[in-house]
Amino acid sequence: MGLTGLDIFKLTPRKNCKECGFPTCMAFAMKVASGAVEIEKCPYISDEAKAKLSEATAPPMKTIKIGAGDNEKALGGETVLFRHEKTFVNRPLFAVQFDDQMADDELARKADNIKKVDYERIGEQMHAELVAVKYTDNKDRYLEIVKQLKDLNKTFVLVCDDAAVAADAVALVKETKPVLVGANADNLEDMVKLAKDNGIVLGLSAAGIEDLYALTEKAQGLDYKELVLNTTGENIAKTFEKTIEVRRTALEGKDRTFGYPSIVFVNELAKGDAYMQTALAATFILKYGSIIVLEDIEYANALPLFALRQNIYTDPQKPMRVEPKVYEFANPDAESPVLLTVDFALTYFVVSGEIERAKVPAYLAVPDAGGLSVLTSWAAGKLGASVIRDMIKNSGLEEKLTRKRLVLPGKVAVLKGDVEEELPGWEIIVGPEEAMQIPKFLRELD
């Protein structure tokens, strides 16, 4: 990405006046290219050259904001095709789609599902962030539905290729910063104007990849860059190709014409098959969907999709950790057992889920184990008897408990003797090896 030192050198006046603090323009240019110095340090660089530079160093994919207030979300802004190369940054958002042919009961049922599916998973609130409303041919009904769905307090995706209808719909919800998906080769100018006038993001649709490219160029030509690209194709294979090609062209081909977030209507591709819809949504979580449109949302499809999204969009450089402390379950008292695990989020999540499932009062002591799994942290010396002792001593549990029982993860049963020595007065119990066995274990613990 960006310009080389030589490219930047050509933008300097080549006076070697040293005012920038470097002996020569070339030395300065090399530093700018490496990102160590701002181009502004040279007072003689023209505005034109600065613009050129900022254009060249702009990220290959634009970050687009949609939604207002607490609902504001960023889309796009990705820099890599594979998450291990760096990280994926802006998680895809899910939309549930309605249309103007829907009967009231169907509409109410779906709206109710959206309200119901709203839960927390490892510190993240999971819910469909968007509602899509598609226009087919009934304008009054369309507008009525948009109005009704405002109560859900979600960001709208208005799917409408009739500029006049779209204008009325946008007027109803423009303060929520919706996305308007429906610009095509026939209506582009009207749609761009509508989006521009209302300051909202515009979605572009075209049949083939080349058509989409040409349309995007045209929109940019109309000086509009708040765009998302509808990469849905005529079938599953074409959609997969189009979505990947768009992202790849932007990131590898360094062609910013395709440097926009995507929207994929997996609901259309699945043709009423809910399982297929889940398979496709999972696919586009991994492969470059930015907005994924579903027919409906229920816990059955939400649980795996949100969980998968959470996994794929974690930063590979930072293992997810939970705060080291004592967690409480089902109002534990002075007699309740203390379980021990590590601060690696995945481990904590599984273990705490199982303790919850057991519905038995218990404490869960989580020492600072470097954010590693039980065995890894033990092997790395971060989960030894002294770490456990310090954790327990500093936790205040000794004062609180009349019956002191500490349950070690079964995988580090070898620590039992050492921990017994370090914690006199405690009964050290070896717990199960697998989290799945915790409920049974806890229920049977006297």
Partner: protein
């Protein structure tokens, strides 16, 4: 400016491995492009989907599945035949959960008997999976490989702890295919493949099992390991990583809370069977897109969905 496609040409290619015999034999691998990237070049053999059955009645399975199979679940051979006739999976995975020393602890002889009956009952390619006890599995696989000589089965899997027994008996003595199982780490995968080939196992007899995870349970590690393995295999032509990949999705997905919790425990969540299927297809799709050439699922509806999914992606 006109649109220019970013050309993707790789020097490496995923090996082809054939399982089973006769008309129903299947071949996986053979592509020189990223998974399912039909638009880039030679996409090879479409990924294959297998259905899991077990040697003994699987007490911990979802009740709806146990009901579905109630007539055949007590007899693995009948079960296999039923699955072959009704669901036509690309292969059947016979999972020896009963061999576990922590469980039913069936003897190797008993297991071999079951394996023979199953193999005789079907013409669909067979994959045998073990009990997670490395020592027992080593013995079990060696005996099963011998008993089913000529059937060209896949043994799932040889690990660092038992690859010598499994590799020597399975692939060398009895010419079966062997999966090399590592735990979600490109270097461990590579090392085991090298150890296996040093033992004399031919590359075209090895499939990789890179580990598995349900969506939501560290799936990012699996997905990124697959990405890295495939980029090395294709981009750097690393022949020690060009084996096709099999992922037993069923083994993980049906064991996590989202699939296990009863409707009484989680009333909001709804029917557990439904949740299990959604989790299974989401995980299977994510594996296939990341690079699995074969996946094993448990629910017939998952099988059907994933088959349609693959067909849809390659149409």
């Amino acid at each position: 400016m006109a649109y220019t496609k970013v050309a993707k040409k790789y020097s490496g290619k995923i090996n082809e491995v054939t399982l089973g015999t006769g008309d129903k034999a299947i071949t996986i691998g053979g592509r020189n492009v990223l998974p399912l990237h039909h638009f880039d070049g030679e996409v090879g053999n479409p990924p294959k989907v297998g259905l899991e059955i077990t040697d003994i009645v699987p007490e911990d399975w979802n009740d709806a599945l146990k009901d579905l199979y109630s007539d055949v679940i007590g007899d693995a051979a009948k079960w296999a035949k039923y699955v072959e006739d009704n669901y036509a999976p690309d292969f059947i995975c016979l999972h020896f959960v009963g061999a576990s020393p922590d469980g039913a602890n069936k003897s190797v002889e008993e297991c071999v008997e079951v394996a023979k009956q199953v193999a005789d009952a079907i013409t669909t390619p067979l994959v045998v999976a073990g009990s997670k006890n490395d020592e027992k599995d080593g013995e079990l696989f060696a005996a099963v490989a011998e008993a089913l000589q000529g059937k060209n089965i896949l043994i799932l899997a040889a690990k660092e702890e038992n690859y010598k027994t499994v590799g020597a008996a399975g692939a060398l003595a009895y010419q079966q295919k062997v999966a090399a199982e590592s735990s979600v780490d490109i270097n461990l995968a590579k090392q085991l493949n090298i150890l296996m080939t040093q033992l004399g196992v031919k590359e075209e007899d090895i499939v990789m099992h890179l580990g598995s995870a349900a969506a939501g349970y560290g799936f990012e590690y699996l997905s990124s390991t697959m990405d890295r393995v495939i980029l090395a295999a294709l981009g750097q032509n690393d022949t020690t990583l060009q084996m096709p990949i099999i992922t037993p999705v069923a083994f993980d997905t049906w064991g996590v809370k989202e699939a296990v919790a009863s409707e009484t425990d989680e009333p909001e969540w709804g029917n557990a069977e439904e949740r299990g299927i959604h989790l299974e297809v989401a995980t299977a799709a994510a594996c296939l897109v990341s690079g699995a050439d074969a996946v094993i699922v448990r629910h017939p509806k998952s099988l059907q969905t994933v088959k349609n999914f693959i067909e849809g992606l390659l149409q």
